[in-house]
Amino acid sequence: MNENRETKRARFSSWMVLLGIASVAMGCGDATGSDGEVRVDLSGEEAATVGYPVGSGDDGIAFEDGFTMQFSKVLVAFERFSLSGADGASAELDADPIVADLSLGNPRGWVFDGVRSRRWEDVQYIYAPPTMESRNVNGVDEADLMEMVENGYSIWIAGTASDGTESYEFDIRLPLRVLNIGCLNGVDETDGLVVPNNGVVNAEVTVHLDHFFFDTYASDDARLRFEAWAAVAGEDGVITLDDLASQSLSDLRDRNGDPIVEGEGLPVVYDPGPLEIAGSNLRDYTVAAATTTGHFNGEGHCDYITE
């Protein structure tokens, strides 16, 4: 009798252990079993289409030194978009390489059907140079696309900035490969996104163009400046990435050749903070800044790895 009780107790315990393990497994992983649809749009925010200043009040973004700006090109090439779970599962999305001009609006990048319904904690995507096979999602000029393919540019921004009197063209082409991983969801500040059961989730890869013009990465009080860019315009009036190399971050000069100062005469210093920067000039700073532009669903930050 006692032996039977012990056997029953052992049997009961064993099933409780199994039930516990099964519960944990269900909680960590495949909790549902139905599928949903993921639609991924691409955006350079309002600034990509209307320029700076943009917005108003506390949400407004404008250049500290009074410049206005319009973009004629915001070309961005992506190699991949992927979703993974904290449990290691992969959504196994078939994301083809694409290229878009965000100055033309917010095109749809990818649509994925039959994605397992659950939270995917790790959203990843890659800035990478396009290939001839890259899909042109919204009418990127074919000559520009060829230029990107041949020279390995993944990001190419161009446009015009003006102080109200003088206008300056800029043309910045970046041969970057940046893996954006672990993106926070800018809508609800959770990790990744949730694919609803038999529903649709709209997501957005958001490129923050203001990062190109930030004067600091050491604090969240960055201001946008263009004077140091304007000062290095070449004889053709176009500012290129290589032109920026003549500006030392610790000795920034204005268009008159004088130190750029602010407020009480303090010299303006561009502060890279924790950015990993190759040198100490504005070209290196801008390249490093470009690696931070990738976001998810608006303000959601990603970790990034340059390759």
Binding site: A10, Y217, D221, S250, V269, G273, S280, H301, D303
Partner: protein
Amino acid sequence: MINPNRLPPLAFVVSFAVLAFAACGETEGSVVVIDVALEAGGTPASFTTDTGWTVELEEARVALGPFYAFAPRKEGDAVAMLREFLLPVARAHGGTDPLNGRRVRAEWLRQVAFDAMSDETVELGAIEAESGVVETVSVTLNPPDAANTSSTNGHHLYARGVATRDDVVVPFEGGLDIPDEGLSRRVENIPLDTFLDAGGRWVLTVDASAWFEGAQFDRLTEQEDGVYLITPESQVRGAWLLAARNTRAYSARFDLEESNE
């Protein structure tokens, strides 16, 4: 067919194996005792900056600490994955903390006024740390506390010396105060690729010859007794602010005693 009566020991063995695998990899995760030291090995008596100034430093002091040694962000072990899942991870971005949420293997929490011209290794003492792979070190440059303020003349960093370029000779001195904005007082991503283990010594080296990269000493204007002062409005101060927080001014290593290697 599975015999239910066999399940408790089977489940126990499997669970134990999973937990053991998750918790242990070599001796990673053990509490170990290591020594901590500071060196100024990288600072020569005379050096030339990238702006062409030959600088002879007579004094170079810094209020250092706390400093931390971090495990790689993606360790790949179950504990790290669980931690990352549960804890928020800040993203590298203007003003956010790229190291927030990372695992600290070792930390020196007190501030030290360090003579960056010293020839001798300064032994700070022993600390308890966690064994395992370390990838980066972070250094904090806070205002000097009461015990250290006289050493740095009340500044975060203090320097005195003579800069020469062609026929221009500029005796200089001054202090650097770093604003309390975001991550301004932290130097991140100092590389340290090592396996931290018992009996070793974690050495942080300060190279004051990197402090004046980008400095133009002929743009110092204020003088006192024939010495040019590094004022907050000066270009030299701006260059120093960047250079003193650049990883090029620091290095780190982990020395293991031979018997432990």
